[in-house]
């Protein structure tokens, strides 16, 4: 005897969080049943496999019907079709838009296009995340991107308003949108040690300081695109390395104040010019899109790796960067103080976040 039809509909839509997670993770019904079996649920409840199967199917059907609404969370809140308590609605949305660390690291900074979507198979194999789940996550990124891409106002707030996400998740999405828009390279082998959280932090710093929104809060794309004018101005910083005198003065100022405080004084002194050149060069090259994309690689290759090889501690880096930044103010011939701060504050925060002990 087979059940052709087997459904359960509650006046309040019944949602099982565990099954929801399995569904989000892209497991088929039979896989989900196997996993649930393994969790020992039958022993706890005395149910049979048939019951579990039917229950899982039922939840999957519900989620499938809810998925359409989850694409526009505001619809989920206002629809009449499913009666779901607000706290549950929030849970459904939050989890639907949650993503896997390993997945996001694969697509972060990539163009959210059909091309990337085709690569999802490979990502799925690589990350051991089901293709279905990869697709959902990718589509979420893309959907959020499309909606907020050309919107005025704060990126995080826009995301929060349209997708009703928690503050934290909205910030993450802001980072994803920001990275996708500028297409920062994050996938190179050298960058593998960085977590999504590191990048998200950097994105937040950059959005806060380097975008149009940082100076004018009423422009289109204000948080998404970098401030072109600012990038252009960064070329002015070249004077710090191009002018031999300036470079020497800057070096001596930093060395004086760090003597005895930094554990890698000698290495620092020896490397000062290289490091300074690296940081200023990165700034001056940001007018080219390609160099923007390589921003993180440059930071790692030109700054983090040399320091690492000289065994700088995080504290050393912090001391150095702080001193490096403030000393420039006391270099008389250097006149781009505001520009320098706008650049260096972000660079410093990013580097400190990216520098893992």
């Amino acid at each position: 005897m087979t059940n052709d039809l087997d459904i359960f509909v509650g006046n309040t839509t019944l949602i099982d969080e565990d099954v929801y997670r399995l569904w989000l993770d892209g497991f088929s019904v039979s896989d989900a049943v196997t996993l649930r079996l393994r969790s020992g649920i039958l022993e706890q409840t005395g149910a049979t496999v048939d019951v579990l199967q039917s229950d899982t199917m039922d939840h999957y059907r519900t989620f499938h019907m809810l998925e359409r609404l989850l694409h526009t969370p505001s619809k989920l809140i206002h629809q009449l079709h499913f009666q779901i308590p607000p706290s549950r609605q929030a849970m459904l949305i939050e989890r639907y838009y949650a993503f896997d660390e390993s997945f996001v690291r694969e697509v972060l900074g990539k163009k959210l296009s059909k091309g990337t979507k085709k690569d999802l198979d490979d990502i799925s194999t690589k990350t051991n995340i089901t293709l279905k789940s990869c697709r959902r996550q990718f589509d979420n990124f893309k959907r959020v991107f499309k909606v907020v891409e050309e919107m005025r106002g704060s990126l995080v707030e826009n995301i929060q308003q349209h997708f009703l996400l928690s503050d934290r998740l909205a910030r993450y999405y802001a980072a994803i949108v920001f990275f996708a828009n500028s297409r920062f390279e994050t996938g190179k082998k050298k960058l593998q040690f960085l977590t999504f959280e590191d990048f998200a932090y950097c994105a937040e710093q950059m959005i806060e300081n380097w975008t149009l929104g940082a100076v004018d809060s009423n422009v289109d794309d204000m948080d998404v695109d970098l401030d072109k004018e600012f990038l252009q101005e960064l070329k002015e910083l070249k004077v710090l390395i191009a002018d031999k005198d300036l470079l020497d003065v800057h070096k001596s100022l930093v060395c004086t104040s760090l003597r005895g405080k930094i554990s890698v004084y000698n290495e620092m002194e020896a490397n000062f010019k290289n490091l300074s050149r690296a940081l200023v060069n990165i700034a001056s090259k940001l007018t080219h899109n390609k160099d923007v994309r390589d921003f993180f690689i440059d930071l790692v290759e030109k700054f983090i790796e040399p320091c690492k090889s000289d065994k700088w501690t995080l504290n050393d880096v912090r001391l150095f960067l702080t001193q490096y930044m403030t000393s420039a103010h006391t270099v008389d011939a250097f006149r781009h103080q505001a520009l320098w701060d706008r650049y260096m504050n972000t660079i410093k925060s990013c580097l400190l976040k990216m520098y893992h002990d």
């Binding site: 459904i7 997670r21 059907r61 009666q83 607000p86 989890r95």
Partner: protein, 1065 residues
């Protein structure tokens, strides 16, 4: 006389994209009532149009107001081609027609299309200005209130309960008209929906007229059903109980709604002088009149009129089958198996279970003898009825006489109520039911549905005479149903024969009566158990004992009823859902041959269902069934029987004996061993069940049990004018004192199967209880956490060797698995009780069984339950079933401060799974999710019960009666049959909720899904489903809120628990 209907179309939202090119829609709305149509402007290029229309005004007769639904159609404007319909909303404006219900309908309604389902929402405001009309010849019945609730609604008081009202209207089914061949499925579905809406409006109006004629102002227990007779037409029929209700003012503060309040406000509806003048004088005829009773003529032997053709073929060919009647005695037909009790054997030959008899008959003979028994039984019932009035002494006779006069005027003294005001129900005789097999023929003249009327009249007559046979003058808990397969139709009616207190039945007499408690409603709460029939001429075999509570009157050993547990009943332990399930194969046949074979099968099915119920009841250690509902479903090649009831242990009835197994070949050693093994298993099960349901009746010494208290015994002998000698009485009682066990014969494999199936019924997992009644005895501390649900299963019996056994097993498994599934799904609600569990079975095609269940799961507070059960004294374990008897139904106030309020979902207890996305984990564990409290959708609770736990109904807004059709031609794309039906049922819920919210309500009580007809054609990728639901829209206020805000909450359209918001923009 006219009324003015005003409609305003405010806005739409979430509309579907109708223009692929622009991804937008140019929507406008047509508003139609009767033959008048208005249109809004086109709101171009938007999925969220803001029409903000003027008020569209319709000036119409109130007759039309009652019959016609308001029809709102949303369309997409197309310059070049015909406008495309997006969907429709039908609004029943009936609730606006009585002054106490809703005043305005305003809110978001789902836009529904029969092919696409819900497509966006529309905000509508509807008002009615009704001009008072005193025209005597009016055809409308505006102002008569309708309630689905089968008890006196919570904020009303019954002044008079007038009695039975019924009506039916017929029409051609649009689906079968010639035009259907050329119109689209959508047009056909909409024609059907509209027709049924019209017909139910008309039906309601006609019933209302009857109520006005009876001088009532309301219909309670209103049950409306559709019979889709296919080619031969469409029947909409309804039954209900006409009442004069009186609104209790100040509902918030009166503890009991049913209890009479001395300061009634004047009833606006009641045309009679208000009877509440509270004459404390002896207005009661009970005391004044001395009476000598002479058997009334109404107790003539009508019952045997149609009995004779039970096992005969029909005499006339043209009208296929006479009514198949059946009598369900309150006591089993087969309970007297003890060989030594010659008397009972003589009087009530129960051959099937009499060891002497059946030990040497083959099953075939056994079957025959069963039908023989039926005849005898019915003959006996005739006898019983003839002398029913002789017993009981002057008092009973007086009562009888009086009630009789009240009831005599009525053609059918039936009541669709299942719960009654205290004191209304005097005695309960037992279940009476009647069935009749009919051949459908085309209804030639829709205006004169005489055949259908005659059919039902016939059945009702049967029921009436059965009730008389049981010494009862009324039938309560009455209901009617049909099962149709091709051109064969089984009409069924059932109810509980009862003796009622006349005071509610007549105008103007009740107030005086209320004060004085009649002896009949004894304070011990056992009165209703006492037999209403004559002990010496019992209509059926039964063991009688003196009541275990009062020891004055006789009670049967088992009681079956279709009503709810009376509030005054004393119960030990908890109740439980008991089901009997049965399949019978039937040869495929045409027309009359088919009808004949069905009617030949029916008695056997009834008999077996009854036996199963009895066995299961004994196995649970209980002695009474409430809410019994037996459904017989007819299919092409089989008949299905499903009986559901709630078993309880009534303290007034004797402790049930066990079940004993007797083998047929006592000499065989291994067989003997097997038997004893089985016996042990059964005994263990009984013991286990007693523990499970807390059935631990106080031990009463043997001597006391059988005999009455000395003094009352004297009296009873005095009263019993006809009884011969007290010795005989003693003998009968003593025999019972030995607790004769129920004997199960194992004489063939069939019987073996039966015993096995008895034992395979798995008890619900710990923390779960279930019942199909309103009240669950033993549980009273409900929380406000409720979940109403519908579950549907369709099972195909393919690749199965179809025999009665395999069928039975499959059906049994289907039901058991369904229950198991429910327990699993609702595990987060533990401790929890499934209340009002309602199973329906359909046989949509060959070898396909469809089972639909609707119920409500309610979480209760375990801690408090434990406290009560810890109380050691045996006295205290006797809980009054009336845990919800007003005071307690409304729940003690101290519970209100309980912090455990309304957490709709308690966290699932299931272990979280090992595989989980780390980020998701991180997010959720440590982050507060933004609260989406700006939700504009108000919560609407739904329940099949007549109340919402821990909340108080402050206002009834009107009846909800909706009929939907959904069809698809892309079944696979919609997720197959399951996906299709799942979505549809969810849509139906959504539409019910939206209508209730628009009326200003926040809950539906007495919700019922009356029909769910599902048809599929997988080859064509098509499916169609029809659903009919009804219920009462109400405003409820949580008790905690009541306590906090002692302001009068009966103010119009206060919406206390809803989230408010833009529902009424």
């Amino acid at each position: 006389m006219p009324g003015k209907l005003k409609v305003k179309i405010v806005a739409g939202r979430h509309l579907p994209v109708m223009d692929r090119a622009s991804d937008l829609t140019d929507a406008f709305v047509e508003v139609k009532f009767g033959n008048t149509t208005f249109k809004t402007d086109v709101y171009p290029k938007s999925l969220n149009p803001q029409w903000n229309s003027e008020w569209f005004k319709f000036e119409v007769d109130d007759e039309d107001l009652q019959d016609e639904p308001l029809q709102i159609t949303v369309l997409d404007h197309d310059t070049y081609s015909a406008n495309d319909a997006i969907g429709k909303v039908y609004i029943d404006i009936d609730p606006l027609l009585y002054s106490e219900a809703a005043t305005v309908i305003s809110g978001w309604f789902p836009i529904y299309d029969t092919i696409h389902g819900i497509r966006g929402e529309i905000n509508v405001v509807v008002k009615v200005d009704l001009f008072n009309d005193l025209n005597r010849f009016r055809q409308s019945s505006c102002g008569v209130k309708f309630f689905c609730t089968t008890s006196i609604p919570k904020c009303y008081r019954a002044v008079v309960i007038h009695g039975f009202v019924e009506e039916l209207v017929v029409n051609e089914d649009p689906e079968y008209q010639w035009i259907d061949r050329i119109r689209t499925p959508r047009a056909s579905n909409e024609a059907r929906q509209r027709l049924i809406s019209l017909m139910s409006g008309e039906l309601q109006r006609k019933i209302g007229l009857k109520v006005l004629e009876m001088r009532g102002n309301a219909v309670v227990g209103y049950l409306q059903c559709f019979d889709l007779e296919g080619e031969s037409g469409l029947v909409v029929r309804a039954i209900g109980t006409a009442c004069t209700l009186d609104k209790i003012s100040n509902t918030a503060f009166l503890p009991a709604c049913n209890s009479p309040s001395k300061e009634m406000k004047e009833i606006p509806f009641n045309e009679d002088p208000n009877p509440n003048t509270h004459s404390s004088g002896p207005s009661t005829p009970l005391k004044n009149q001395t009476y000598s009773f002479s058997p009334s003529k109404s107790y003539s032997r009508q019952s045997s009129s149609s009995d004779t053709d039970l096992s005969l073929t029909p005499k006339t060919a043209s009208s296929p089958q006479g009514p198949r009647i059946f009598l369900f005695p309150s006591s089993p037909t087969l309970s007297c198996g003890s060989p030594h009790l010659n008397k009972s054997c003589l009087l009530f030959p129960g051959p099937s279970l009499n060891p002497l008899h059946s030990s040497h008959v083959s099953p075939v003979v056994l079957r025959k003898s069963v039908s023989f028994t039926e005849e005898l039984l019915l003959a006996a019932s005739g006898m019983g009825s003839g002398s029913a009035g002789k017993e009981g002494g002057p008092f009973k006779a007086l009562l009888r006489q009086q009630t009789q006069t009240a009831l005599e005027q009525r053609e059918f003294p039936f009541f669709t109520l299942t719960a009654f005001p205290p004191g209304f129900l005097v005695h309960v005789g037992g279940v009476v039911s009647a069935r009749s097999v009919k051949l459908l023929d085309r209804i030639h003249n829709p205006d004169e549905p005489e055949t259908r009327d005659a059919w039902w009249a016939e059945i009702r007559q049967e029921i009436k005479s059965h009730a008389k046979a049981l010494g009862c003058h009324a039938v309560v808990g009455y209901s009617e149903s049909t099962s149709i397969c091709e051109e064969v139709c089984i009409l069924s009616a059932s109810g509980t024969a009862a003796v009622l207190n006349p005071r509610f039945l007549q105008d103007g007499t009740m107030e005086g009566c209320l004060e004085q408690r009649t002896e009949e409603t004894s304070p011990l709460g056992c009165g209703f158990c006492h037999i209403p029939y004559d002990e010496l001429n019992m209509p059926f075999p039964a063991h009688l004992t003196y009541c275990y509570n009062c020891r004055k009157q006789k009670v049967p050993d088992v009681l079956f009823t279709t009503i709810d547990l009376p509030t005054e009943a004393m119960v030990i332990g908890k109740g439980c859902l008991i089901q009997a399930r049965l399949c019978r194969l039937k040869k495929k046949a045409q027309a009359e041959a088919n009808a004949t074979s069905i009617s030949n099968l029916l008695p056997f099915m009834e008999y077996e269902v009854h036996t199963q119920l009895m066995n299961k009841l004994k196995l649970k250690g209980m002695n009474a069934l409430f809410g019994l509902r037996i459904q017989i479903t007819v299919g092409e090649n089989m008949l299905m029987g499903l009986a559901s009831a709630t078993g309880v242990y009534l303290t007034a009835l004797p402790t049930p004996g066990g079940i004993q197994i007797a083998g047929k070949t006592p000499n065989d050693g291994t067989y003997e061993q097997h038997i004893s093994h089985m016996q042990k298993k059964i005994n263990d099960t009984i013991a286990k069940n007693k523990e499970l349901y807390d059935i631990n009746p106080p031990e009463i010494p043997e001597e006391i049990i059988g005999s009455p208290f000395p003094e009352p015994r004297q009296r009873s002998r005095l009263l019993r004018s006809q009884s011969e000698s007290s010795d005989e009485v003693m003998e009968l009682d003593l025999s019972h004192g030995k607790k004769d066990a129920f004997v199960l014969e194992i004489d063939d494999t069939d019987a073996m199967e039966d015993v096995h199936s008895l034992l395979t019924d798995v008890p619900p997992p710990p923390g779960f209880y279930s019942c199909n009644t309103e009240i669950m005895p033993g549980i009273n501390n409900w929380t406000s956490d409720i979940q109403m649900f519908t579950s549907v299963r369709v099972s195909r019996l393919s690749n199965i060797n179809l025999t009665n056994q395999t069928l039975n097993k499959n059906f049994n498994d289907l039901c058991e698995n369904l229950l198991k599934s429910l327990y699993f799904k609702l595990r987060s609600m533990i401790p929890c009780c499934l209340c009002h569990v309602n199973f329906t079975v359909a046989l949509p095609e060959d070898e396909v069984i469809q089972v639909t269940v609707t119920a409500v799961a309610i979480t209760f507070d375990k801690n408090q339950a434990l406290q009560t059960s810890k109380v050691p004294a045996a006295e205290k374990t006797l809980q009054r079933a009336s845990t919800d008897n007003e005071e307690q139904l409304q729940f003690p106030l101290e519970l209100c401060s309980d912090p455990l309020v309304s957490q709709p979902f308690s966290p699932a207890k299931a272990a979280s799974l090992d595989k989980a996305s780390p980020l998701a984990e991180g997010h959720l564990r440590h982050r507060s999710i933004p609260s989406c409290t700006n939700s504009s959708v108000s919560v609407v609770k739904m329940t099949p019960l007549s109340f919402i736990p821990r909340a108080k109904i402050t206002k009834y807004l009107g009846i909800i009666n909706m009929f939907f059709i959904r069809e698809t031609t892309s079944l696979r794309e919609e997720g197959g049959v399951s996906g299709f039906l799942h979505a549809f049922i969810a849509e139906v819920f959504a539409m019910v909720r939206a209508h209730v919210a628009a009326l200003g309500g926040n809950a539906v009580v007495s919700y019922i899904m009356k029909q769910c007809v599902f048809m599929e054609n997988p080859n064509k990728n098509q499916a169609q489903c029809l659903i009919n639901v009804s219920g009462d829209a109400v405003i409820v206020v949580r008790e905690s809120e009541l306590e906090m805000v002692p302001v009068q909450p009966s103010a119009p359209v206060s919406q206390p628990t809803s989230a408010g918001g833009d529902v009424t923009t």
